[in-house]
């Protein structure tokens, strides 16, 4: 990895990339009348206008310094790839600014943007579909240079051959076709093409996900060598935390369209602060049989970005959901109650009798009488086979009353942390919050 100190004159300047409040919403309804819903009830006009919006990226801000690698990690569907595409203006943002070398890409005209792309390149996940099968390798690598009017024909050929060597291939591959190469080699060709215009910034979207581990290691090493050789800045997107830890200088963790934690790679991995980061890190199987069974697993699936949870978007799966302020119950009681809420929502038990269910989930009666009343009422609903009412009651009386549901936490630096570089979006780490215990 290139460290920033090798560019002392640049580290004083503005960051290479500064993204602020970047937002991308997709209209999910297609066609002229797609957003109209037909629901005849016999009384009113049977059509309602109800456009669905997928909030793929929502108010994301971060910076990337010259020469560093920022790792962007998150589960599938969290908006990583959309973020990359918006960053490169392959999709136009709904809102927000992207400053690249001081220039706002979101405001550039098409032609100005086209010329600017000389400095920003992208590597895609699938090395197969990102190469035209009817073009020779040489032509593929030369195409970006041609588009930007760089060098003459012989100069381009020479440059292509040099690049083939830089990325660990043979110059004589110049006249071959993509199908003659393996996945790892194709990804190298993609690299050579991206580097042909001498970019400053390369966005890599899951560049090694389709490759075997030994090939992945080769590509990761090549990426690091090229970064040193050409002074590149990377945005490395991956769902693989091991790869992110290996290649990144700083890491941004994304959940459902928002960044939840940003920080230096080692500190973030050694001491994750956001409950989501903690859960993500502890759910990876470690390649060491002697640390078996130390995983803790996050329940449930990622909610839909069409209708994300209010407040903190992670609250529906969060193991550290904050107790509603009006209730006075202990942590272990709160954990039991949350277990009950989850079980009712999933209908994962047989509702036979109130006392039996109470015993199964709670360790005696709750100290807070109001809480106990709600729980008893909910259990009675389940016994009466009114699961939906029980779920609704528990949601409105417990989950919805938590501070996590009421206000969305902002991505702020942590109190007590020496640097301002580390930022977390969680109420537990707000100005008055206390750090939560590691599980």
């Amino acid at each position: 990895m290139t460290d920033v100190s090798s560019h002392p004159e640049e580290s004083e300047e503005d960051p290479l990339v500064r993204v602020s409040g970047l937002t991308k919403h997709f209209d999910n309804s297609s066609g002229l009348l797609g957003s109209y819903e037909f629901a005849p009830d016999g009384l009113s006009f049977p059509f309602t206008h109800n456009p669905e919006t997928v909030r793929a990226v929502d108010g994301v801000s971060f910076e990337i310094e010259q020469g560093e690698t920022l790792g962007l990690v998150g589960e599938s569907g969290c908006g990583k790839s959309t973020l990359a595409r918006v960053l490169l203006q392959l999709l136009s943002p709904t809102d927000g600014d992207i400053h690249f070398q001081g220039e706002n890409l979101a405001e550039l005209s098409n032609e100005a943007l086209r010329q600017r792309r000389e400095d920003i390149q992208m590597i895609f996940q699938d090395p197969q579909s990102s190469l035209d099968p009817r073009m020779k390798i040489g032509a593929i690598i030369e195409e970006p240079m041609e588009a930007h009017g760089l060098r003459d024909a012989t100069g381009r050929e020479q440059r292509a051959k040099e690049l083939l060597e830089s990325v660990g291939l043979e110059p004589q591959y110049y006249d071959r076709y993509p199908h003659e190469f393996s996945g790892g080699q194709r990804q190298r060709i993609n690299l050579a093409r991206a580097l042909s215009v001498d970019p400053d910034f390369v966005v890599l979207d899951e560049p090694t996900s389709a490759l075997d581990v030994s090939i992945q290691a080769q590509i990761l090493n090549t990426l690091q060598d090229l970064q040193t050789e050409f002074g590149l800045t990377y945005l490395f997107i991956s769902h693989d935390l091991s790869v992110i830890r290996h290649i990144s200088d700083r890491v941004a963790v994304m959940y459902l369209g928002e960044l939840v934690e940003v920080g230096d790679v080692d500190r973030l991995f050694e001491d994750p602060r956001h409950p989501y980061t903690q859960a993500l890190l502890s759910s990876i199987p470690v390649p060491d049989p002697r640390s078996r069974g130390e995983r803790s697993v996050l329940h449930g699936d990622v909610p839909s970005p069409i209708n994300p949870p209010s407040g903190c978007r992670f609250r529906t799966r969060c193991p550290a959901l904050i107790v509603p302020a009006e209730y006075d119950i202990s942590d272990s009681e709160w954990a039991d109650v949350r277990e009950l809420i989850r079980a009712v929502d999933r209908r994962s038990f047989d509702a036979d009798s109130v006392s039996h269910i109470q015993e199964q989930f709670l360790d005696g009666r709750l100290t807070d009488t109001r809480c106990q009343e709600v729980v008893t009422e909910a259990i009675e609903h389940t016994v009466a086979d009114e699961w939906e009412r029980a779920t609704e009651l528990l949601q409105t009386e417990f989950a919805e009353k938590s501070v996590c549901a009421e206000t969305a936490p902002s991505l702020d630096s942590i109190t007590g942390e020496p640097t301002t570089d580390r930022r977390v979006a969680c109420h537990l780490h707000g100005s008055e919050g206390e750090p939560i215990q590691h599980e």
Partner: protein
């Protein structure tokens, strides 16, 4: 319970007869699965893992054929050939080898279940999830329609599908990837098989979902006492769930060890290289030491040891002598590498080959 292993694969050979030549996808593979055990089958893509497990279920389609070896499962002969080939040169099936109908009625689904990587491909999109599960239980367990439905809902709840009675009538596309994989596990369990063969079942899933599935497998193994043959390329999963591991390279098993020995005392250079090429989530890795080049095609494997052209420890003798799998440590670890004394191959006195290794991404065509 008897002393014989639940599944015994001996010298299995599966070949694909293509226009370009014979692809020896699985070439003399042997391994066993004991009762109640999770056995891993590890290797990179193209190593022959999937062909090996499909051979166990006799799910090899033309132009592929099982041409040799013996597979016994729970006292039944799944694959077995006469010593002498028939008059046409083709191997002759032994009398006790199960017919295709017997495979279908006695083995597949009911005794050995298979979970594939892509749950969407394994579920029929035009039938409801519950209906597919119910049908399977009805056919294999001989229950009435209503009893099978009740059992199906019970299993769906057990594998962690929320609101199983309501989701019963949903179609596969209404489930998320993780949920679909749970449905497949439910289907595999539906007939309480003795062996579950899982072919990269978590590869398409996110880490948090993968963790959920692994936990589920643990719980279910406890409850049903099923054995697992787990195919994967992910060393993290191997470390997490397997009891014993077979490492495959180019159609052969090159190392067999208990999971602890494999990670802490690998005996084959390929295993070692695999372990050195993975970035770790739990510690910062300085430099990855990847293997050079890529795995050759099984259509024309290298002479001698198949790994010699990429092996950092290869010597001249490795080009000539093909190592079989032998016990190389007192702990009973197996490896197929000439550097071990068990082979008596004069490895020590042989000339090292390292200078001749091809450059990274060497000159190899697809």
């Amino acid at each position: 319970m008897s002393d014989t292993p639940l599944l015994k694969v001996e010298n299995l050979k599966t070949q694909f007869f293509t226009e370009a030549g014979t692809v020896r996808a699985v070439d003399g593979v042997s391994f066993t699965v004991e009762r109640g055990e999770i056995v891993g089958l590890v290797g990179e893509s193209g190593a022959g893992k999937s062909v090996a497990v499909r051979s166990i279920l006799r799910l090899i389609d033309s132009p592929g054929h099982i041409v040799g070896g013996e597979i016994t499962f729970d006292g039944k002969t799944v694959v077995g050939f006469e010593d002498e080939p028939g008059t046409d040169g083709e191997p002759t099936r032994r009398e006790e080898m199960l017919t295709n109908t017997e495979m279908r009625s006695q083995i597949r689904g009911s005794e050995i279940a298979l979970i594939f990587q892509d749950p969407m491909e394994s579920l029929n999109p035009v039938f409801t999830v519950g209906g597919q599960l119910r049908e399977l239980i009805e056919l294999n367990r001989g229950l009435s329609k209503q009893a099978a439905r009740d059992r199906a809902i019970e299993i769906l709840r057990e594998v962690g599908i929320p609101q199983p009675a309501e989701r019963f009538d949903d179609y596969p596309h209404q489930f998320s990837g993780g949920m679909r994989q749970r449905v497949l596990i439910a289907m595999a369990l539906g007939c309480e098989p003795k062996l579950i063969v899982a072919d990269e079942p978590t590869t398409a899933l996110d880490v948090t979902v993968e963790g959920q599935i692994l936990d589920l497998v643990y719980d279910l193994q406890d409850k049903y006492d099923a054995s697992f043959l787990w195919v994967t390329h992910d060393m993290g999963i191997v470390a997490e769930i397997c009891d014993r591991v077979n490492v495959m390279y180019l159609g052969e098993v090159v190392e067999r060890a208990s999971v602890d020995d494999l990670f802490y005392n690998p005996q084959h250079p390929y295993t070692e290289a695999l372990l050195n090429s993975i970035p770790r989530p739990d510690q910062s890795t300085e430099d990855l030491q990847p293997l050079e080049g890529a795995m050759p095609e099984p259509i024309n494997p290298p002479s001698g040891c198949r790994f010699h052209d990429r092996c950092p420890e290869a010597r001249e003798v490795c080009q000539r002598t093909h190592p079989d799998l032998r016990t190389v440590t007192e702990a009973g670890q197996y490896a197929a590498c000439l550097k071990h004394d068990a082979f008596e191959a004069a490895y020590e006195t042989s000339r090292p080959l390292t200078d001749e290794s091809p450059a990274a991404g060497g000159d190899r065509r697809e």
